[in-house]
Subunit: 742 residues, 2 copies
Amino acid sequence: MRFLFAILICLCACTAKAQDHPNLVLTGKGVQSMQASLGKVPLFDQTLAAVRAQVDAEMASGIAVPVPKDLAGGYTHERHKQNFFMMQKAGVLFQITGEEKYAMYIRDMLLTYSDLYPTLGKHPAERSYARGKMFWQCLNDANWLVYTSQAYDCIYDWLDEKMVKKLNTELFRPYAEYISVENPQFFNRIHNHSTWGNAAVGMIGLVMGDEELVNWALYGLDKQVPGDIVKDNDGGSIQLKGQKEAGFLAQLDHAFSPDGYYTEGPYYQRYAMYPFLIFAQGLANKKPELEILKYRDGLLIKAVDALINQTNAAGEFFPINDAQKGMSLGSRELVNAVSMAYFYGGNDPQLLSIIAGQGRVPLNDSGLAAAKAIAENKAEPYQYKSIELTDGAKGDEGAIGILRSGVLTLMMKYAKHGMGHGHFDRLGFLLYNGADEVIQDYGSARWVNIEHKDGGGYLKENTSWAKQTIAHNTLVIDKDSHFDGKVRDADETSGTPYYFSSGDDMQVVSAKELNAYEGIQMQRTMALLEIEALENPLVLDLFSVQAPEGTRYDLPLYYMGELMSSNQEFQMKNNLSPMGKESGYQHLWLEGESSIQGNAFRMTWFNQKNFYTVTSASREGDQALLTRIGANDPHFNLRRDAGLILRRTDGNTVFASLYEAHGRYSYSDEIPVNSFSSVSEVSIMHESADYVVLSFELKDGSYYLFAMSQNDAREGSRHSLQLASQKLEWTGSVYFSKRTKE
Amino acid sequence: MRFLFAILICLCACTAKAQDHPNLVLTGKGVQSMQASLGKVPLFDQTLAAVRAQVDAEMASGIAVPVPKDLAGGYTHERHKQNFFMMQKAGVLFQITGEEKYAMYIRDMLLTYSDLYPTLGKHPAERSYARGKMFWQCLNDANWLVYTSQAYDCIYDWLDEKMVKKLNTELFRPYAEYISVENPQFFNRIHNHSTWGNAAVGMIGLVMGDEELVNWALYGLDKQVPGDIVKDNDGGSIQLKGQKEAGFLAQLDHAFSPDGYYTEGPYYQRYAMYPFLIFAQGLANKKPELEILKYRDGLLIKAVDALINQTNAAGEFFPINDAQKGMSLGSRELVNAVSMAYFYGGNDPQLLSIIAGQGRVPLNDSGLAAAKAIAENKAEPYQYKSIELTDGAKGDEGAIGILRSGVLTLMMKYAKHGMGHGHFDRLGFLLYNGADEVIQDYGSARWVNIEHKDGGGYLKENTSWAKQTIAHNTLVIDKDSHFDGKVRDADETSGTPYYFSSGDDMQVVSAKELNAYEGIQMQRTMALLEIEALENPLVLDLFSVQAPEGTRYDLPLYYMGELMSSNQEFQMKNNLSPMGKESGYQHLWLEGESSIQGNAFRMTWFNQKNFYTVTSASREGDQALLTRIGANDPHFNLRRDAGLILRRTDGNTVFASLYEAHGRYSYSDEIPVNSFSSVSEVSIMHESADYVVLSFELKDGSYYLFAMSQNDAREGSRHSLQLASQKLEWTGSVYFSKRTKE
């Protein structure tokens, strides 16, 4: 019924051509306002000048619309991609400057596309579960339409009616149908691919006044996905278990948690934010009655804030799940997103400092407003928060915990798996000192769009190494990855948040993982402890596990930098062999090993300009292994990064470590400062399923106790433990205090 | 006679105490001028504020003068080092601000030293050929005196006569004697160690009016070096062959070439520049009749210019010979040197941009003048030159050639060995793209002053790896280093400059090495070629060698970054073994190898943000080896850097390669540009002892010939060669032109 109604509307709308464009991302009123501001708002003017220079240079080199042939990174792929970026920018330039050459450029290019498109079958590359026509996958076809529909909106009223009709019927409607009704396995998912598809079809629908397309976009297709396509190229399921809905609103319902966290992680959230927000902006303009920006308590604006909080001091996203390192708040998607969040989200002056750092603004109402406010010196520093971002549509399927203090940022992950782009990394963590990685997450094994590397797509080492548990800073049991490396099983559960606090002297994140290994319970508690004698907070790490006797534990630590020294003697290998045959071990060389002597393992390394030390409580039989990534890597797809593995065979046990960031050294003054650890002793005073108590002593003689109630996190609960020669009593989940040593 | 006269002067001078201090680095007039400028010259004021904050903080923590015990990096070493830095700064602060607390701080510290010093024997660490008392080596004792004499000069007139006498007789004169007459093997060399020793003794002599010390400093000791000490800790000879002179003037005569190049290379030149210049400044003030800054045609000022030219775009010195990477124009030594060069060397406005980049100035006349000129906007960009810097006291013992064009900087080394700090790297090269290393020199295996790493001194891998030929981008023959790794033999000869030109379209450096391997002649010609179709100059590399049949050649290339692709299939190793037992091969893992198919080897890599490709002409039997540094490295002293080795067994032969810097990629926009090589073919058209002709073709179809006359570099010589189907005729050493392909 909804369907029929939409078709009727369309029949009317598609024939009329009212003078109401642009009205998708730009509006007539907004354009007037931008024109009136020219020469008065530096950041806006700079962006405009840069965009004009770029488009003029492209226009000078002529129009090229080659027959599609290549994968990502190849000529035809990159050419069509460049074309849609340029058309979108040219459209904006036409509106702001009124110079017709920009409109003519778009028109001529679109006519060329309308000649080519009807001649195309599926793209010749057969790699995708949803092959496109212009590109190797529908996803990129959708990218094209999201940008091109904006260009089309900008020249719609300028074109004559005949040409509009031709483009609508010969190019855009068939294009939209191909990536929707002809490829429901692409369009009807809950996935970033479909977000692009929904936005593309919806946006061109808004431009053409084609309500059928808009309805498909908003509510999904009333159409079954073909039964023979059940997985995408990344191994993700086409249909989520129990999925009943599809379309843009369903994406909003399912893809984000109430905190704005996106289950695939920040790298893909960044990617998906563009279609989410740009379509939302079109809907806000054309269908204000939807109140899309208020949907789910202003979810889209919250999501931008969540993204900003998932970055290091250089604005680079945490590279969890499939993610190329270095992607940052400076990306084109975030340039649009942060200004939108500023404009539609209450003019938060802290966002202005992020926008100023981006160095450019979107050429629309949001960008103008932000640039004006920056010119008026309204920007305030962004206050990064210690924050727990829940995962799952209802916020009850795990989370990530971010602790920040001084220069340190710690992130622990106990979220959902993240579908096809997820990594088997439950209870993994990463640590930054400002912009520098201290403990790294490997990221994905991929060189995005770089044709040299298998066409720029995911490399097979992404599965064989980057997704495996041993590639992460978390516990590997019996040399097998979490969930035995099965995405489907991992997708069914999430980590379990246990405790999160962000006080002044102590910040704590604690979570459990009960499903990754059958019959085994794991809990990790990490804390940033402010200790006056230390220049930076001390990072505490308690990994406790309940498992049968004889379990083999490997706890990797991917430290970044050069090993300075250790308190252990390592037996270095004179021949290197891979450490195993599967689960990622086949990619690790064993460089050296040590049977740990004494009751603590210590290692200091140096990175960029600072020293770092890990000190771990150890017991007889513990081993330390020094590893190097790169075995079984025939095409040099992996970085040769170092790692440390603490290995133990035991039943129930606790791994307890302290990480220090200390001192500095510059290559131009060559004076090392505070290059040694301040921790003289670390020791586990108590361990059981219910409690762990850790003591440590600093070189200045001060002595500290940290205690954790692992099965009762209630604020008012009272705990009491008999230690060797004293009774420890406390209230609430965590106890931490300076003490007199017994 | 000279000696006796000096003693007589001393007897008079030492008893009187005229009010004529400060007059070493500061002067009364200069101090007045600085005082008058306070608050008016931003860079000077900023430096003063920073120095004051630093000294105030140190003073607040009290005076510590521990009994010497540690090596570099250890507490007592670093404490005494910090003390002399602080005293020197406090002296300047006393003079400029007139605040007596700074004078009292110096006085109290000196009195503590004068109590301690007479009680000391040699430093307990026995590692040095010339053990100090305050530090493990006389070198550091000399450092202390160079700085402390400046502090002493600043408070000399403020102290009462009795105290001056006490310090002169109980501390400074014995101190100066210890590092001179008691350690002639340290003081009487031609070496950076002795430069420090000479300056230290001379400067305290100038302050105390002790002409005997000044004469020792200027002219050396009339004393034999003990016969049982013939080598220093780095394997350098204590006395150079035929060395007759010593002292500061002899250092100036022997250590520098007429171009201001220092035979140990820029890292040590930087280190030696401080005592050279600061003592020279004292001499200019106290003994203007010496005209020390005009000595050898203004050598000391030229040397600063030579140093500036030996840097990448970040101001970091080329890490040739023993050198820690990252040492730069920002170092304390250069902060003093560049301002001095500005002040005493004719107020070159280009130096001001370097000084502005340093962000601080020395607190003296030079620094004030430079800061004032910067405040008056007189700074001009420094024009880095393509330049050949000769080596050897007379400029006839080899050279280094530096070619610059656009973003590229290429340096080829065919200089003297560089004594104990030299590497076996004749005809080696390095290449930068701006500040990024493209082809790296490993530098030294040392973490300077970092105690974790064997006390911060040279590591044994410095000899077993970093100095060896295989660690450099130059030809290794029969797996043996140049000169069989013998410093003494290497020191006897130098490379032979053959041709150097820095035209607009083509810049060329060519040199021969006739001594490194007995009976073998090597010649390398490198060029930067401007080709319109390419975004950066093309780097050409012809390595020709005349040697017996059956010679095994290894030509390493230490590319920086991640391997993207190759036109060859590599057989990757599943077990890694060291590539040899000696000459540095014991530190290389062989990761993969390839028997090169076709007539060209190609490999593309990515670093930071750019792509690079090497294309090498190859012939049947050639091999390409992919290596990784790190074997036989029990303490992780070596970086795990990658390398490529081209291997060939032949007689007379030519290695011909082209290096391209092309394209770009950013992790935040993920759009690769120009990621593939533009070279489609490279081929050797002719090779003989006299000539090499190389042809290459680009993908746009353009075709080029490069020809080199290898035994006649005269400008007017005419050359004629019959190639396959054409006759090539040219005048002068080098021919390069675009041609029609035959």
